[in-house]
């Protein structure tokens, strides 16, 4: 069987398209690359969706934590504390238990016990808490002058937030936020590893790497392949976030842009 056929058969195996049975013997490198790559679809799915949805909640939570009203501040503080203070491993475990019980009472929640929805919710809340803290830190360090200048222009309320506070906050938080995005993609490997069951052998990259390590009894091939895929993914994430960063800082002179890019490592 040529490698192209393998890719045709197993390239989309992780989302249930292609051969029903996984290869059982005579494992080739091509099969390992294809299936582990196919599993990456899930890692990217979880990472991208959780990041996008988490971004909105994170902004809200950051504003909540910075708010003067304790009704807004306290819940935000607790939300951030609980999700940042406990291991994701344990969060997945509890979420699965909780979703099972919810499902027993209200059948509406039944998709939540499968990973594609349930794990996404957990990752969404988790990244919202982490990014919320980052955004909150950035919010606190917005230069006083910027806000005073906005006031001087007569901006207030929503327009002041949208035109001055929000962009500045993003600009300050972006490097740390890049790190958070990398961590989030790495965290997606925990989905099937802790709690959520694998249906019809459609798992993520780690599941397939594990499968091959288990069948060939040789961990030194599949895991480095997995590692290679993740290094690529990390490079892509860094690249995309770098582009956004350049856009966020496009009004700054060349020299200062460079200095801003350095600052991140101080925040994280």
């Amino acid at each position: 069987m040529s490698c192209w056929e393998t890719i045709a058969d197993y390239g989309l195996r992780s989302i249930g398209i292609g051969e029903r049975l996984l290869p059982r013997n005579d494992f080739t490198l091509c099969q390992q690359f294809t299936l582990i790559g196919s599993g990456m679809i899930w890692n990217i799915y979880f990472g991208v969706l959780a990041l996008c949805s988490g971004f909105l909640l994170a902004t809200a939570v950051a504003l909540g934590k910075a708010a003067r009203n304790p009704l807004l501040r306290k819940p935000s503080e607790w939300f951030i504390f609980v999700f940042r203070g406990s291991p994701l491993f344990i969060q997945f475990f509890f979420a699965y238990f909780l979703f099972l019980n919810l499902k027993a009472v209200y059948p509406v929640f039944s998709p939540l016990t499968s990973a594609w929805a349930g794990a996404l919710v957990v990752l969404f809340l988790n990244t919202a808490a982490y990014s919320g803290e980052i955004f909150y830190g950035a919010l606190k360090s917005i230069p006083k002058g910027d806000i005073e200048a906005a006031d001087a222009y007569g901006l207030s309320g929503w327009s002041r937030f949208r035109r001055v506070i929000w962009p500045t906050m993003l600009r300050l938080a972006w490097p740390a936020y890049t790190n958070e995005a990398i961590f989030l993609f790495h965290a997606t490997t925990l989905v099937y590893f802790a709690g959520f069951p694998i249906i019809r052998q459609s798992g993520d990259a780690l599941y397939y790497a594990n499968y091959f390590a288990d069948k060939t009894f040789n961990p030194f091939v599949p895991y480095p392949i997995l590692a290679g895929y993740f290094i690529l993914l990390t490079l892509v994430v860094i690249g995309i976030f770098g582009l956004v960063n350049a856009r966020l800082n496009r009004h700054l002179p060349q020299e200062r842009r460079k200095r801003l890019r350095m600052r991140p490592q101080i925040i994280r």
Binding site: L100, F193, P197, I199, F217
Partner: protein, 241 residues
């Protein structure tokens, strides 16, 4: 910190006292999460059918044995890289495994696997739970119409049946029977399936001497009926030799 320094000192010390005999201590690796074959008892020690069997085999082969536990997933890689000398963990003899490790003489007859569920279930087209990377999981994967649901531990597979996530669980019958006894709602359903061979002790392929010693000891236990006694004690529904 002090502990670490002490132990590195001890390591260095042991390193200098080169012992010629390699197998003065034989380390037995097991999972410790699969009653009645092997489990951790109230005192935190390995216990079960394989504990008694292993101790007896070691006594007969005149070996000093020690028990270690290891995650099921990495139990073979750790054996071949030499972190313990034998696997005794309810591991069925399969062709796949034989390519990588050697097995001693089998100490159980092929043990049937069984389905456990809440009442009668039509197994074709059912959702069936199994522990990931077991022979049962690959069996369900190849069953036409059935949907495989994989969990990391055997406990979770049972929990999945109880909370309705799965219609049935496929596992070794000897593991399922006590569960079915303890819980009135759960019962063995459908026909037993025979997958895999009997259970044997796994050793490194280069370790033929150890394999032969184990095989001889197991053979002698078969002869005088002590193995059958152990099987009747721990695995009441399994066949004896």
């Amino acid at each position: 910190m002090k502990n670490l320094i002490l132990s590195t000192a001890a390591l260095a010390l042991l390193g200098s006292m080169a012992m010629a005999d390699g197998h003065s201590v034989v380390r037995l690796g097991t999972e410790g999460a699969y009653p009645p074959y092997n489990f951790i008892n109230d005192a935190g020690e390995v216990d079960g059918f394989e504990r008694e069997l292993g101790d007896e085999v070691c006594a007969r082969a005149e070996l000093t044995c020690e028990w270690v536990t290891n995650e099921w997933d990495s139990i073979i890689p750790n054996l071949v890289s030499g972190n313990y000398d034998a696997i005794i963990a309810g591991m069925s003899v399969t062709d796949e495994r034989k390519e990588v490790i050697d097995f001693s003489e089998q100490y159980t007859l092929p043990d049937p696997s069984a389905f456990l569920g809440l009442g009668e279930v039509d197994l074709s087209g059912a959702v069936i739970a199994a522990q990931a990377s077991t022979i049962q999981a690959s069996h369900v994967a190849s069953m036409e119409g059935a949907t495989l649901l994989e969990f990391a531990t055997p406990d979770e597979t049972i929990a999945a049946v109880k909370n309705g996530e799965a219609d049935a669980v496929l596992a070794d019958k000897a593991f399922l029977l006590p569960v079915a006894e303890a819980d009135a709602d759960l019962s063995i359903i459908g026909e037993d399936v025979l997958i895999g061979g009997g259970i044997g002790m796994g050793v490194r392929q280069s370790d033929t001497e150890l394999r032969d010693k184990f095989s001889a000891a197991i053979a002698s236990m078969k002869e005088d009926g002590s193995l059958n006694a152990l099987i009747t004690k721990w695995l009441p529904d399994s066949e004896t030799f």
